[in-house]
Symmetry: C2
Subunit: 338 residues, 2 copies
């Protein structure tokens, strides 16, 4: 696609990291989707992201219509450099595109003894509490926190009850979804996993008002405002779609998709060694909390992905046939060995 | 209690702001609780909070065992000054106590055209997904974001499905709670609103694993780590209780309760006027989103509290009889006119 080698390496690293972590929905399965966005002229591969405006601890990065998989590591690096200089760094990005798996960007901070944060907005699939309109994306929050002898705490989650990928799996298996995951086009609760395809909406974390879906709505809103409004990207219902066959919104108040990154130097607060010792205690206490069922203990954020990574590094990454076929087509088109 | 006049004014402002916003659980109803903590020697009124360590954008504040209602405004002010200087300010606090209503601290940033953030940890009442042990507090998240012609976006919510105050109301009315709010001491789902008093636990936002309570657990954990571990306060199951009649934890890895504050200068990213114009669009779009039931439209975070404030400024604040009696006893003790 004409990306500089270093950018291509960034993109490959981000996609493969998702596959290694077991997040197949954000791995090489998406590669052909990015290529289609490039074919449609919605992604440029011959531009560089740049800092448009900055203070010692903040910056706005213009993604220059580039591939989010490369824009995100650049912006996160800007945040890390600022944190090294003044304690924290915060970067809001506009004019970008889908950045892949949020957690991997946040994790860039870990080797520097920093906490890493990554948000992104996304095309609207989520209805606010009380509405039937799709007004927000699944807008994930990722926070990576270093520990000492224990592995890092890595949270990475959509601000909806269930991510879209889980619904797709249910659709493929022709199974129904729990109530509280989705609603119909009219806003009625439903267990029909295909309701989203029929004009329905994903529900904010909480699922319904009685279970505080307004809190999930607030979380998704905060991610949207930090990523979209603070940067000058599109926000809310105006965020462009990932699938290239979907039309762009007819009105767009900003440029492209928005992201938000943060890096927090631990020793801006206290000695990293002291913090890490306490994080080890925190993690071990949680692991030791009495389980309701003996076989199911508290899950430390990041543990499931680490288990999956260990397994896949040893046994390889299984690809679905459709994904393999997709990659084969790409290999033929770009004259690459698969 | 011997507080300097400026600190007493801060404390009164924070408590009354809660009452004005309709958050009765965090208003003057708590005053006698703070006095009991002082009686028990767990709060000092003759000390000042101070900056223990700092970088241009970060600080750790030692609350000096003071009243959280005064420590929090001090720490938030430090964050605001740092944001004025270098774009953002981030302050983690240890050796503090219950800081009252989170949202009011976050809102201190608004007149400066800054986004304000306030977290606090709290004594353990919440069980992580899969556990029956109380390992986290209700650990609220407050984010206040300025708008232009529209009022500000003010989110302020516990990271549990339901706050403890809501359960107390159900208990008083002898009504049952929805499934997903609490579990019994054995970790079984229950609708018994008094289960918490009988050794049960509040549930993280999401309610159960099928509705992603692990995400609520991650949110509460992030608040605990930013407030408690980053500052050197107590964290997780070690956070001291608010009621003075409850024993202090036998082991405490840190000092007091922890908070975390942030201030983000809007023009560290883009012109405040442009941001506010887009925020107005964001808010108006949300208000205009098609409702499921015509009488129930999307709620902008902060709207319910503003409605309540307008009503109470006009009609006064109704106090429950128990609260009035409490205040009367305090007035007699401290020889104050009520």
């Amino acid at each position: 696609m004409g990306l500089p080698a270093s950018s291509a390496a960034d993109a490959a690293r981000v996609l493969l990291s998702a596959d290694l972590r077991g997040v197949d929905s954000h791995g090489v399965a998406r590669l052909s989707g990015y290529v289609r966005l490039w074919d449609a002229g919605r992604i440029q591969t011959n531009t560089w992201p740049f800092i448009e405006h900055e203070t010692p601890s903040t910056a706005v990065v213009d993604g220059n219509a580039g591939l989010g998989l490369c824009v995100a590591p650049y912006a996160m690096q800007v945040a890390i450099v600022k944190a090294a200089q003044v304690g924290t760094g915060w970067v809001s990005v506009h004019n970008s595109s889908h950045f892949g798996i949020a957690g991997v960007h946040a994790m860039m901070a870990l080797p520097h003894d920093m906490i890493g944060i990554a948000f992104t907005n996304a095309s609207p699939l989520v209805a606010p509490t009380f509405s039937k309109d799709r007004m927000l994306g699944t807008n994930p929050i990722a926070v990576a926190i270093p520990a000492g002898e224990e592995p890092p705490f890595v949270a990475d989650f959509a601000t909806t009850t269930a991510a879209n990928g889980k619904l797709e799996i249910l659709q493929r298996k022709k199974e129904s979804a729990p109530l509280g995951w989705i609603q119909t086009q009219e806003g009625a609760p439903t267990t029909d996993a295909s309701a989203l395809k029929q004009g329905g909406a994903l529900l904010p974390l909480g699922g319904d008002r009685e279970h505080s879906s307004h809190k999930g709505f607030m979380l998704g809103s905060i991610v949207d405002i930090f990523s979209g409004v603070l940067s000058g990207a599109n926000f809310g219902k105006y965020v462009p779609p990932f699938p290239a066959y979907l039309a762009m919104p007819s009105f767009m108040p900003g440029k492209g998709i928005g992201h938000f990154f943060g890096a927090i130097r631990i020793d801006g607060f206290r000695k990293a060694a002291d913090f890490k010792k306490d994080m080890d205690t925190w993690i071990r206490d949680m692991r030791a909390a009495a389980p309701i069922h003996p076989e199911q203990t508290v899950v430390i954020p990041g543990d499931p992905e680490r288990t999956e990574t260990a397994h896949r590094l040893q046994h390889g990454i299984e690809l679905m046939e459709e994904v393999y076929d997709d990659l084969q087509l790409l290999a033929e088109r770009f004259k690459l060995a698969l």
